[in-house]
Symmetry: C2
Subunit: 314 residues, 2 copies
């Protein structure tokens, strides 16, 4: 049995890509099963509820040598613990290639598109398979989520074309309204503990010298209601401090992305992070908040700048 | 300009894949140029001559940051020197994934098929482009070469289907006769110096602990005339000894593959290599020759066994 899963702290793309890719592989005769590496966030829970689906089972470990398919990620730090002891036979991803290796030739499909869902649609087409309404709904939701309904600079023409194709198949007439409902669900954070908020869309990146990298934890909260998040600033800073110690990080940042206004104001824990933001982005933090302007994409606008900065420290 | 190239010590697949992929990308509006990282072997020279083509220019270095597309390889040890300072934007390959990383999301296309040419044909089809006779001839030649005309255990149904499709497009009526002519050209080694023979189809593999790997140089001579090669055994062993010192290797092997009889008799330099072959394959060397039986694929039958052996040494 081939276990298919997205990254830790799954977002809508990670969760739906596992479901859709497993279903696609099953139709191709592969004994595939979707899993998740964490709890669905509020947006993903909304998407699954609207689709009438349960979240796939939580995966905590697999025996060494088990075959696995990774979607929406490839770096071991974002994957199942002990990934290097598993047999990666397939990867479908749209991120830069990190520390992944395979012990045998494998199926790897990476393209610089805005969403794994866009790539999965290509796989359906290349296989000559019709897209069922459920799969269409899941891929559509992932693309709207990852591209913030085309607001993110990661958006490509292929993502737009995919949504144009998928919406009628999914039976979603008003894509704008559906996207806003997704974003509203995502923003309805209620009394979620601060550390949960921080870790909801959170990835650890190694920067600089690969032999002795700096480890930075980068969280993002995409919301239509940034006022709510900044109302909990003190709590969030305490959670960042705790996570920095727990994960033995060199730095931690939490970007609060205002989806509708397309801005990024980032919470900055200490003088260490302040210095890096000043030198990498030319911005000053005030009262633990740095205005990163329209840099709303961690992948395309934040990580590359930090990577370049730390590489230059050599 | 995007530089497209295959591995060092290029074989027919590495050379033709660079030519074909550059031509495909050009038709898609990419300013691509094919290069080679070494001299064509006798088989490849035959294929190019029959196609009425010159070999692409030799590439020795590129400025840091230059965009590159890799075909038929992905490991830095087999690529252009300084690969980690270049920007890999595309890879089309059918080998296991090694130490490749990318700084940005890229186009990566890996499938466990017998030949890069088989994958390139898929790319033509997915792009909706007709295959021109020249491209068909080059892809066909690569598949016959890499699979030893379907004799190798790396052969997949897709490789066979590709040849079936490509032969009429290329205008090659008698595929069997064309393959035999390729193998005869490859076997006509003349007075090639022994070290050149050793390095013709030669790759260095890191085995065991990734932090401190053993480096093994594995050469292959595929020939319809093994008697010629064993007639030069003493010279070849001296060349292996020299290469082992030059490349500071832990071990060096030279497999002589009899294409038509599908056997592998491997030249073994010293007691170090003898011990590893005994423990990894259960075979004894006699007079510096170990009979590896039907293990004619370095990629599928030799490297995985060595990898498993050295990993188990812990």
């Amino acid at each position: 049995m081939l276990a298919v899963f997205g990254h830790q702290n799954p977002d809508t793309d990670a969760m739906t890509a596992a479901l859709v890719y497993a279903r696609l592989l099953q139709r191709q005769g592969v004994d595939a099963q979707a899993y998740r590496l964490g709890e669905p966030n509020f947006e993903t829970a909304f998407v699954l509820r609207e689709a009438g689906l349960e979240a796939p089972p939580l995966l905590e470990a697999l025996p060494a040598g088990s075959p696995v398919a990774l979607v929406d990620h490839n770096e071991s730090a974002q994957s199942l613990a002990g990934l290097h002891e598993l047999t990666v036979t397939r990867v479908v991803d749209h991120h830069k290639l990190g520390d992944l290796t395979t012990t045998q030739p494998a199926y790897l499909r990476f393209e610089p598109v805005g969403c794994t869902g866009t790539l999965l649609l290509k796989l359906f087409r290349e296989a000559g398979l019709d897209v069922e309404p459920l799969d269409a709904r899941l891929m559509l939701s992932a693309i709207l989520s990852d591209t913030l309904h085309f607001r993110s600079p990661t958006t490509t023409p292929e993502d737009r074309d995919a949504v144009g194709f998928l919406a009628p198949v999914a039976g979603i007439e008003d894509v704008e309204a559906y996207a806003l409902a997704m974003f509203a669900a995502k923003s309805d954070l209620g009394d979620t503990p601060a550390e949960t908020l921080l870790r909801m869309d959170y990835k650890v990146f190694p920067f600089g010298d690969p032999a002795a990298p700096q480890q930075w934890g980068l969280g993002v909260i995409e919301t239509t209601n940034p006022g709510y998040v900044f109302g909990r600033q003190a709590e969030l800073l305490r959670a960042m401090d705790a996570v920095k110690a727990e994960d033995t990080l060199n730095g931690v940042l939490l970007s609060v992305v205002d989806i509708l206004n397309e801005t990024n104001r980032t919470l900055v824990l200490s003088a260490t992070e302040e210095k890096v933001l000043r030198e990498a982005f030319g911005v000053e933090a005030h009262d633990h908040v740095a205005d990163l302007g329209a840099r709303i994409s961690r992948k395309k606008q934040v990580v590359p700048a930090l990577e370049a900065y730390f590489s230059a420290q050599g």
